[in-house]
Symmetry: C2
Subunit: 217 residues, 2 copies
DNA sequence: TAGATTGTTAATCGATTAACAATC
DNA sequence: TAGATTGTTAATCGATTAACAATC
């Protein structure tokens, strides 16, 4: 019954985690898994796992469970990871370079085609084989290239301006690192990675260790 | 009625966001804010905001709202950001260095005292004024220094081993970047930052743009 | 005082868990 | 066949929203 209703954010956040566990099992040659056993490994209830999968179709077999390889392929497809994505990164500082150099991304089909910065020290150089262009070239670049995802790694004061440029250039998915919420049109998606807020949450739970607890994030 | 019940993760994740908005308002000299107006700015309902705050005490005034400065100080205290934290980072690669160099952290009292790596090219050098030590020195270091937070930025195959070393050395809060869940004793807290999973969630929502939507993360 | 807005209690909504018929 | 396990419907649990008395 592939996707009748809206998928809740809670489910969306669990999908990549299923992918990770299944990938690992698949690499280890595990041929089948039941929701009970997967739940034990991941710390979820079997009910939740079956409920989650049922949003997208029927992937298991009564009395048997799930074929790891098939389920893995299905989730990869559900997450739309069976294609390539073209990305550009604004801001070639620490975080921008870390993103550009992160090997998992290119392996997984996330291709970083260009870096943009204003620093004359950086512009014209290459980082990990990716050319660093000046911001002034961005509009031109976006006109001539199809970009699926724009990554914002500039200081937070410049974040909104960069977002505006990306949107102006037709980019509709933004991965946003600076600690500021962006205002964007309805049809543009923003995924935030706010490192400080993650750290603050850790510190809070650490202070209130007794009342909270466990592994999060 | 400061913290009678457990604080849900949803609330914990909103607290840093309140802090961010209030900081900004405070910097702009805004003296007061009502839950209605704060809700409008943040995209939350006034009810939720009042409900959230009420977990920790009474910070407002009927008919008036909240004094921005006071509320900011209260939330800073609730988040335990009114003290310093000593951190060590394992893995001085791209992400480890990005964390070490991130200026917001030291400004906010998150002090990175040491980096650990195995790469002989890096060991002995300094990154942003922080000495890079060999992993072999970690046990010794942890014996002699009080470390509040251990940051894991090593390749994911080494993550669990590093976690074990940190825990062995008495560290009870771990900020974990590699894409693998750690197994830790009950009294150890782990906060995960799984970049790929964040990116996958963006891609999923992008594919199903109509059924999901908005700003997340 | 009158208007505004809080903190809290009650109602609603949504997500998780349990139960179970279907069936491999 | 008997045992196991699915997909789904129903029950429960928790989080969000609405309502409102208290009061600045």
């Amino acid at each position: 019954m592939a996707q009748r209703k809206n998928i809740s954010d809670a489910v969306v956040r669990r999908l990549p985690r299923y992918l990770r566990y299944l990938s690992e099992m698949h690499e280890h040659g595990v041929p089948r898994i039941s929701s009970r056993e997967l739940g034990e490994r991941m710390g979820l209830t079997p009910s939740q796992i079956r409920q989650d999968f049922s949003h997208f179709g029927e992937f298991g077999q009564q009395g048997y469970g799930y074929r790891v390889g098939d389920l893995l392929a299905a989730i990869r497809h559900i997450l739309a990871l069976d294609r390539e994505y073209h990305m550009v990164v604004f801001g070639a500082g620490n975080i921008g370079q870390a993103v550009a150099k992160y090997p998992n991304f290119s392996e997984r089909g996330f291709l970083i085609d260009a870096l943009f910065d204003t620093d004359p020290e950086l512009v014209g150089k290459k980082v990990e084989g990716i050319k660093v262009l000046h911001w002034d070239k961005a509009a031109q670049y976006l006109k001539n290239h199809s970009v699926d995802i724009g990554v914002i790694c500039v200081p937070h004061a410049a974040g909104q301006e960069v977002a505006d440029r990306l949107i102006q250039g037709g980019v509709r998915s933004i991965w946003n690192f600076p600690p500021r919420d962006l205002s964007v049109p309805e049809d543009v998606l923003v995924e935030n990675v706010h490192l400080s807020e993650s750290l603050y949450a850790l510190v809070f739970r650490s202070k209130h260790r007794d009342t909270c607890g466990g592994q999060k994030g």
